[in-house]
């Protein structure tokens, strides 16, 4: 056996028995590095007589190529071995808790319900407006056909504001969002088609009343809008809101100073196993007040009641949210209780969207 063959066998054995990447690399350097044994054999080519060069060169090249191939495949084997070992070593107990970032926020049911309703009315062509919480007597009462001292004012338990100057007529915390309707009519010319929403205030606190709550009201004024349009609008809106096709509604005659004729609206419902089922059954639940805008209200806004007419309606946001989402207690809406907000609130992503039925 030639020395060359011996060297090849020796290195081959070394490669086959190498157990780690470091040892393998040493073998590679010792054989094929600048000062390696095989490199040494290669360098000998130049010193040989020309007639030997070709066959010697061929032989040593074959050895080099063979060793390189062997090194490569051994390298792959050892790399895999090393990776396998690393994977075993890196294993963790995946039942350990994940990173516990408090990143799940929520949107209040009041905000959600307002956006749902505005969306429904916007779809029917209603504009949206808001206004201030503190109102003057004119916008909250007088313009809405509540004469001073009238018993209808007693229907609202009003919070009065201490006047800035003694003797001034006291402002009030608005008792309804109707002053927004007045301000809207003052600023716009008919046809009017709008909804407004916001905080309202009444001096009452018990299981079913809080001194602050939210309303949404709607107003439509032109030359032809009649009571039938009011019925159609509310039927469509409430059916959409509760997700019940042809929601049964009952329109009862009632009284509000700012509408004539006036009506209260009940939705059909029933109780099953202690849970409210909306849209079926023989019970009625009041959800809304409405009517045809009183001629005096139109007059107070500078409109001609001989020519113009229309409807207005108003509803409690919390009440609708409670009915739809099964929230049992009104007072809890205002507690800022994180447990409540996370439970009854909505994910940021749950934006009311009729494409997905929300």
């Amino acid at each position: 056996m030639s020395a060359m063959e011996e060297l090849k066998q020796k290195i081959t054995q070394e490669i086959e028995t190498a157990t780690d990447l470091k040892a393998l690399d040493e073998i590679r350097v010792n054989a094929l590095g600048k000062k390696g044994a095989v490199t040494g054999l290669m360098q000998k080519i130049a010193t040989l007589p020309p007639e030997e060069r070709k066959s010697y060169g061929q032989a040593v090249n074959d050895v080099k190529t063979a060793l390189e191939t062997m090194l490569e495949s051994r390298l792959a084997v050892l790399k895999k071995k090393e990776l396998d070992a690393r994977l075993i070593k890196e294993a963790v107990d995946v039942t350990l808790p994940a990173y516990d970032l408090d990143t799940q926020g929520s949107v209040h049911p009041i905000t959600q319900t307002i956006e749902e309703l505005v969306g429904i009315f916007a779809d029917m062509g209603f504009d949206s407006a808001t206004g201030p919480s503190l109102e003057d007597d004119f916008h909250n009462f007088t313009a809405l056909n509540f004469p001073p001292n009238h018993p209808a004012r007693a229907m609202h338990d009003t919070f009065y504001i201490t006047p800035e100057n003694e003797g001034d007529e006291p402002h009030v915390l608005r008792t309804h969002t109707s002053p927004v309707q007045i301000r809207y009519m003052e600023a716009h010319q008919p046809p009017i088609k709008m909804v407004c929403h916001g905080r309202v205030y009444r001096s009452d606190y018990d299981q079913t009343h809080t001194p602050m709550f939210h309303q949404m009201e709607g107003l439509m004024v032109d030359e032809t809008t009649n009571f039938g349009h009011l019925k159609g609008t509310l039927k469509e809106a409430l059916s959409a809101f509760f997700g019940v096709k042809d929601l049964p509604l009952r329109f009862r005659p009632s009284f509000f100073p700012f509408t004539e004729p006036s009506t209260e609206i009940d939705i059909g419902c029933s109780w099953k196993n202690g849970e409210l089922v909306i849209g079926e059954g023989d019970k009625w639940m009041e959800v809304l007040g409405a009517g045809m805008v009183h001629p005096n209200v139109l007059k107070n806004c500078g409109y001609d009641p001989q020519k113009l007419q229309g409807f207005a309606f108003g509803m409690g946001i919390e009440r609708l949210a409670m009915l739809k989402y099964g929230i049992p207690d009104l007072r809890t809406f205002f507690d800022a209780d994180l447990r409540w907000m996370k439970h009854y609130g909505f994910m940021a992503l749950q934006r009311p969207n009729r494409a997905i039925g929300e």
Partner: protein, 804 residues
């Protein structure tokens, strides 16, 4: 308003059952709140007779009775001291329910008492829930046969109807008014009101004078009354008491009960004075500062705004508001004077509101009683008094005259369809109005001339007429019409600014914050901690409690209180925010909308794989930064000052301003306040002045600006500078940025260091500068050129030198 079905039927001829009547009442606007059927309370209980009564052989206090139930004779053991042979009793046979017993055990079982069988129970008033009387069994005075249901024998079989009355329907504060409405709606017919005329046999010894100034005669324009002598006041008959009790009133004496009865039946409050207690004639006039002892046993000082009914010496009643204590009828009363006056609603309102008196009389007068009714009411009252108390009537006394209440409303019948959307035939319109008491004159095919009845002061114009017609015709017959029209689609209802606020809410929720809604008001103490000294304080004049008497200047106090409540429930980390108004004054522009957020504790709980980091000023700044970015602002370009409100940590808070307007404040909450609110953990927060944000730029199309991307590799270079420790970081960043605005795409500060290697009073800050070429790859020389410019700029603007 409560009344019984039987009472209603005194005025309404009908065969309709209670359910039909109840449904119709609600359908015409007299909403039924409850039907109270008292027969159910006493189900199974019967009238029976004690026919034998003897001592129990083994118990001193017990008796063994034989009770005749009409159908059988039963042995019953009874311990009542008053049980005796011949007594009529309310008997509960085995299986009946005892009203006073708890629900789960109220069914009576057969018993054996001291060895003697007992087949039922003789009931006391307490056991029947009729009174507190428990010392003996109830003794019945009735001649119905034994076995008659107890409820029937007692007149409890007349169901009570409770309706919610709207303020416009004064006429329905009287039972006859309700009957009239039902008749118009087709539930039977209204019985005619028959009033037996009274022949006075003598001239009334008391006269009445109306004494008002010329401009104020309408305060009380009309009076009717008379004297009746020789009456006997006692206890009113059972039928009257039953109806008064059902209506929620307490029977007092026959004379008083008669006035209440007339009041409920006809919506006509009136008074009966004891003539023996009067000094001279009666004058109805305005008050003059006299003191008046009212029926509620309180004293009031009357003034020139109160109508008073007075004799020569004293005030007898505050007109339309409340009667007096001194001259009412008593058991000794023999001669009485009936007073039926018409008082002006406005006067009664003002008086009642000023003295804060609520009464049946005020309720009715301020809503408007029938101005044409005083004479009829006087006759009705006289007849009832003579029937129940005897006596001899005087001639009637009249003062003033019936006020002009007639008014004509010209009405076009097609206005019904115009306003309501439903066509009601002219004949039907006329018929409805006439049944309601309107005088209708047909002027042409579609024109009517209407006079509303005297009892309907609420009907003013044509819209009221439409309501009258369609509420009787039926709201349910109005068709539902759509308001959709083609021109109304494709438009956002929210204004761009309102939409932005809605987006900001979602953005905060997506950052782990929970939206709260808290009161717009707070208490004075909290207000003081969260108020601006240079802004006005708005107080509620009539707060529900002192906890809620001041309008808030800042939402932060409410959020801190919320955090306190949550932390006390061992929720040690939390984030919440609120959008809502604050109040710097009373005009609309002094009630800006704010968005406030608060984070307390840390973002992570104690964990096996993390170190806990408490919230700090930079968490609040991050919240503000994303909100401002959403508003189209670059927070890095907005100057920050350190004059945050007093509730923030003075050294760990900042203020963003646009011009002189504050747009946001942020920081850690002042440690003293954290302690005050028991928050033993880091707390930070922010407030964004939503109304001060720039108006949203509305683009004409939804197209986004073109994205400019460079295909060339960006280059990052890090620099560290040493400078005075009070140089703000953003000054360094800005200095670097300004070195080459075109080439430098970002400057990011990533390290601040003070300590070993940096001399006292100085700090080292390190930045990464990113260079983004757009045309050609940067050469080393170009990069070096920019670097030198950066170093020079920083040195010039901050005094900082490159750290060696």
């Amino acid at each position: 308003m409560k009344f019984t079905l039987g009472w209603l039927k005194e005025h309404l001829e009908t065969t309709a059952d209670i359910d039909t009547i109840s449904e119709k009442l609600t359908a015409i606007g007299l909403e039924v709140e409850e039907i109270i059927d008292r027969t159910q309370e006493f189900e199974g209980l019967i009238v029976a007779d004690v026919v034998e009564c003897g001592k129990h052989p083994d118990a001193d206090r017990l008796n063994i009775c034989t009770v005749d139930t009409g159908s059988e004779k039963l042995q019953v053991v009874c311990g009542a001291p008053n049980v005796r042979k011949g007594l009529r009793i309310c008997f509960a046979p085995v299986g009946a329910c005892i009203p006073a017993w708890p629900k789960e055990e109220n069914i009576l079982k057969k018993g054996v008492i001291r060895g003697q069988e007992s087949n039922g129970m003789c009931c006391s008033e307490a056991e029947l829930c009729l009174s507190d009387e428990a010392n003996g069994i109830m003794e019945l005075d009735t001649d119905v046969p034994a076995g008659t249901p107890f409820a029937l024998a007692m007149g409890f079989d007349d169901p009570i109807i409770d309706i919610a009355l709207t303020p416009n329907r004064a006429d329905c504060a009287g039972i006859r008014g309700i009957a009239r409405d039902l008749a118009a709606a087709g539930v039977g017919t209204l019985k005619p009101l028959t009033v037996k005329p009274v022949n006075g046999t003598f001239k009334s010894p008391v006269g009445t004078k109306l004494d008002f100034a010329a401009g104020n005669k309408h305060a009380c324009p009309y009076f009717a009354g008379r004297a009746i002598r020789g009456v006997k006041n006692g206890t009113s008959p059972k039928w009257m008491q039953d109806r008064l009790i059902a209506a929620g009133l307490r029977p007092i004496s026959t004379l008083v009960d008669i006035t209440n009865y007339i009041c409920l039946e006809y919506n006509r409050p009136l008074h009966v004075f004891d003539i023996a207690k009067l000094d001279g004639n009666i004058t109805i006039r305005m008050g003059k500062g006299e003191t008046f002892l009212a029926l509620n046993e309180k004293e009031y000082v009357t003034d020139e705004n109160d109508i008073v009914v007075a004799d020569n010496k004293k005030i007898l009643a505050m007109g339309g508001v409340m009667g007096g204590e001194e001259c009412g009828a008593s058991a000794e009363t023999q001669d009485v004077y009936i007073e039926v006056a018409y008082f002006d609603p406005d006067h009664v309102r003002v008086s009642g509101a000023k003295h804060q008196i609520t009464s049946e009389a005020r309720y009715r007068f301020e809503r408007g009683v029938d101005p044409a009714f005083p004479v009829t009411a006087t006759e009705l009252t006289t007849n009832l008094i003579m029937e129940l108390c005897g006596g001899e009537p005087s001639e009637m006394v009249i003062a003033g005259a019936e006020p002009e209440w007639q008014r004509i409303i010209e009405f076009e019948t097609d206005y019904v369809a115009q306003l309501s959307g439903v066509d009601v035939a002219v004949n039907e319109q006329i018929s409805i109005l006439e049944t309601l008491g309107f005088k209708v004159e047909k002027k042409g095919e579609v024109s009517l001339s209407l006079i509303p009845p005297s009892w309907r002061g609420d009907v003013e114009g044509r819209a009221d007429i439409v309501e009258e017609i369609i509420r009787i015709y039926g709201y349910d017959k109005v068709p539902s019409l759509s308001v959709r029209n083609d021109s109304s689609v494709m438009k956002s209802a929210f204004s761009p600014e309102k939409k932005r606020t809605a987006d900001m809410i979602r953005l905060l929720a997506s950052r782990g914050m929970n939206e709260a809604v808290t009161w717009s008001f707070t208490d004075e103490k909290t207000f003081v901690d969260f108020s601006f000294a240079d802004k006005k304080k708005v107080k509620i004049a009539n707060p529900l409690s002192s906890d809620w008497d001041t309008m808030r200047h800042s939402i932060m106090g409410n959020l801190l209180q919320g955090a306190q409540r949550n932390a006390s429930r061992s929720i040690l980390c939390g984030s919440m925010f609120e959008v809502g108004p604050v109040f710097f004054g009373q005009s609309p522009d002094e009630q800006p909308e704010m968005m406030a957020g608060l984070r307390y504790g840390s973002q992570t709980l104690k964990g096996w794989n993390t170190t806990q980091r408490g919230y700090n000023v930079f968490d609040a700044k991050a919240d503000v930064a994303v909100l401002l970015s959403l508003a189209g602002l670059n927070p890095d370009n907005i100057p920050i000052s350190t004059d945050a409100p007093s509730w923030y940590h003075p050294g760990r808070s900042g203020v963003f301003r646009l011009g002189k307007n504050v747009i946001a404040v942020f920081g850690e909450i002042h440690p003293a306040l954290c302690e005050k609110y028991d928050l033993d953990m880091p707390v930070c927060g922010f407030e964004v002045f939503v109304d001060n944000l720039p108006a949203v730029k509305v683009k004409a199309t939804a197209t986004k600006p073109k994205l400019e991307l460079s295909f060339l590799q960006p280059v990052n270079r890090d620099f560290a500078f040493v400078m005075a420790s009070d140089v703000p970081a953003n000054k360094l960043v800005r200095a670097a940025e300004s070195a080459d605005k075109k080439l430098i795409s970002s400057v990011r500060l990533f390290d601040v260091y003070q300590g070993k290697g940096v001399e006292d009073g100085k700090k080292s800050m390190a930045i990464t500068v990113t260079l983004q070429p757009f045309d050609t790859t940067l050469t080393d020389a170009e990069i070096e050129g920019v670097s030198q410019k950066i170093i020079a700029n920083v040195e010039k603007q901050t005094g900082g030198t490159l750290r060696g």
